[in-house]
Symmetry: D2
């Protein structure tokens, strides 16, 4: 069944749900899902409706008709009309378990996205990625530099996407890059945000015999300590696990939170508000 | 902030959400939460609104005004107007970990309910329950009998409640009793419904060295194998756990699923449809 | 550091630990890990020691010297001397998420095994498996038959392995096949053993709005309802998840329990006793 | 069956396991459980044996005979001979969910300990604790002071115990107090150690819409940021949970990690090494 969905963010106030559901009523759109949240005088809603009988036949037509409501309530929206296929770029470095997990899911038709490229500052994965049928770019770099970021920006411009996924891309992106990339960036991090931003997490976790290890997926914004959290996961460990064993378990956490974030992003179920993320069901 | 909420169940069709939100609009009720689900041509919705400014000032007034919508869409509803305090009766037998957990939560003001009585076919808990300030009834019985159920029915009639909680009440209630009790009954079971309805679960689980044990909370309906599931939980176990250790872990599962079911029931977030339960967020 | 380890199973009795640790003492083997379990008058132990200074330099030498102890206590043993690389064969059918997960782990050097072949009754994966550098056999079959099992047995004989992994191999293996294959077989099953052996688990789980779904990895023995359980895992689901969504979550469970079983098998940490499995730490 | 167990910590070296198991052999003690760990050139072992036939009939006799081994390997030991009943003191403040959970477990015969007293800087719980049959001390204090700690120390001296449990005791104990108390102290903390030592954890967690909340149980040592972790637990939360809801979920985490730590302590399965804790199975 063909559906559309929209995420709405606007200052809270009365009658927003009513106005939106009324609009869909008038245009013969039958609502199949609706979820909302209020916080800090801010209103958030995701509503999904059936396109059968809906008398606005395109994204453009919808936006034109919806414009008065959008303006009245000062809404920001994220519209997914007729489940248009997301396009996403993948960055990685020398650790490629998250990358391989995502490519496998794509090969298994679990994601239904387009992945126009994989870009890495390491050539290790080139052969495998290409064998699997994806385009691979290697941006060689001895150390991080403007020159290096330029190479990545060229790829981004050549292959327009909706989002960049950092599948264990081990460099911190500059403010300048984030601004020029001009799209959402999702990262997986070996920390339990907002804390545990450790340089050598495996060693420090082992040093203290922590009982759980963790990973976090998040949107990338310029302020490092303010990254909006999408998902967090932990796994149980024991004092008897050596560092290599911890690393393997850490990988599982990282793959899980990354895959979760990707699925939610594809389904248009994430909305960032300041340094926080709402995850709709 | 004072709120009301309603759960609506009716045959699916267009414009139900619209009609309900419109009704609340007309009566100045600002919606603070809305969640819905469709399945099998059946529509389920829970909507919560603020009572400040709402111009229907009582449950009765609401029901009178809402009646045309209710009739038009052939709705069944569960209304919680101004968070009226739930009243619940507690039944137990010789295993009283779930009972003590619930009474503790009540003493800690976690539940905000009224518990007019605790009834048991064993006198073991009498002293402790009374010390904690609750009314205790002992319905002595050598074996299960009509006579015995009659004793429980008298208590139920003497203390009208919204729901009966079976906190490890180890008898199967008769069809006749369920009908006469004429209210929702919530049970916790040492099985992983709809399977594992084992007579001696500890022994059988130990016999096969299962890796997880479990519990289920559910509504009681006459058909044993069709109990609508409210919540399920598992805990990890090992081959080295003996039966006594398994029992202790089992208790933790039972307490968790029971407490979860009770909280959701109090918040008016459960709706039964045939042999299934929707659990709203 | 080079190590060896042995799993010992024998009738319980005094002085077994003492005899084994004494033997290792006499031969200059320093113990780095020891775990044991008693049950049903049966004794189970896994002990690991360092090979540096150990004065028995091969599996054969060890077995010759250890023989008197083995005979005295009527032991069955599983010896892993100097972490000899395991060889394993992979069977699959049309669902290949578990297969792709295992091959990915092998490509990421997480497993350190040899995978001499992948065999399937479906040709779907041939191209991808070969691209990834593995040998692929397609045993075509319209329906299950002796002829078909013969094809698989030929592959098994051509490529001797320590274990066969059924990565969602959707046929039930005959007693005759299991006997002739003459090696351990590990399977992943979409049930919560020993129950929930449903024909259409996705539909039945959805039908009852269960709150958790599950998977089990186990050894294959001829008696279907007695499969020794290696690992079980559950994931939380909601009434709002449709069947396709349940299937995706089910896949995650299946991959996890399968990967867990494989790692434990490679590390020589599993021992089957009747219809049960001990999983050493 | 009567058993004894011992935890041994000593510098790592060859033949320690052998010496201990040999000692038990010579004295007719049949080993029923053995677990060990090596790290940082340090050796840790817990061994449990049957007392039937064991020819050392008391703790003192054991210690006398074992002394040469103890001295040879420079061992520190924790001996639990014939499951001698632990005695423990309970401190709490105004939040008493952990206290009530522990007292309930004691009333349910889950713990088999002696609880000679409950001490609190708040009188809130006095009536309930005494009704439940425990001795209650109120040490009134406007603010934390030496005077106040003196009151607690008097209680500790009057009722000798093996361990003090801080069931949400919301004061930081002074170095002086910890030294004078001269026994193990176990605490439950609303942080995810070693990070998240937040002053207002509920608010900060809510502020960032974290996806998991947590608690940690740990031994108390004077260095705040070095507390040895015993157990950690997390629970899943959503952006839609308000602060009151987060607090309720936090309580569940706190009760779980506290009960876990207490059980492990009672079973003599915890050993602290520097700022870390080994938790034996």
């Amino acid at each position: 069944m063909r559906t559309a969905n929209i995420i709405i963010t606007c200052p809270d106030g009365p009658w927003i749900i009513r106005s939106v559901t009324d609009f869909l009523f008038v245009h013969w759109g039958n609502i199949s899902f609706l979820e909302e949240h209020n916080e800090d005088h801010q209103f958030f809603m995701r509503v999904q409706w059936e396109l059968e009988n809906f008398n606005l036949s395109s994204e453009k037509e919808f936006l034109d008709s919806f414009d008065p409501i959008l303006k009245k309530f000062d809404m920001e929206i994220s519209l997914d009309f007729d489940n248009n296929k997301k396009r996403l770029g993948l960055f990685c470095s020398r650790e490629w378990h998250c990358l391989l997990d995502i490519l496998s899911r794509q090969l298994l038709w679990e994601l239904e996205v387009e992945i126009p490229y994989v870009a890495s500052n390491s050539p290790d994965m080139k052969e495998l990625v290409e064998k699997l049928g994806f385009t691979f770019y290697h941006i060689p770099t001895e150390k991080w530099s403007d020159e290096h970021e330029k190479g990545f920006l060229e790829i981004i411009r050549k292959h327009p996407t909706d989002v960049i996924w950092l599948a264990r891309y081990m460099k911190i992106l500059s403010h300048d890059f984030i601004e020029k990339a001009d799209q959402k960036i999702i990262n997986v991090h070996h920390s339990f945000l907002p804390s545990f931003v450790w340089a050598k997490p495996y060693n420090e976790a082992h040093e203290r015999w922590v009982k759980l290890i963790w990973a976090t997926s998040h949107y990338v914004i310029p302020e490092l300590d303010q990254w909006p959290i999408i998902e967090q996961q932990v796994k149980r460990v024991k004092h008897s696990h050596d560092i290599d064993h911890l690393k393997l378990i850490w990988r599982e956490c990282e793959k899980e939170v990354f895959a979760f974030a990707i699925r939610k992003h594809i389904e248009n179920k994430l909305v960032v508000y300041k340094n926080r993320t709402i995850v709709f069901e």
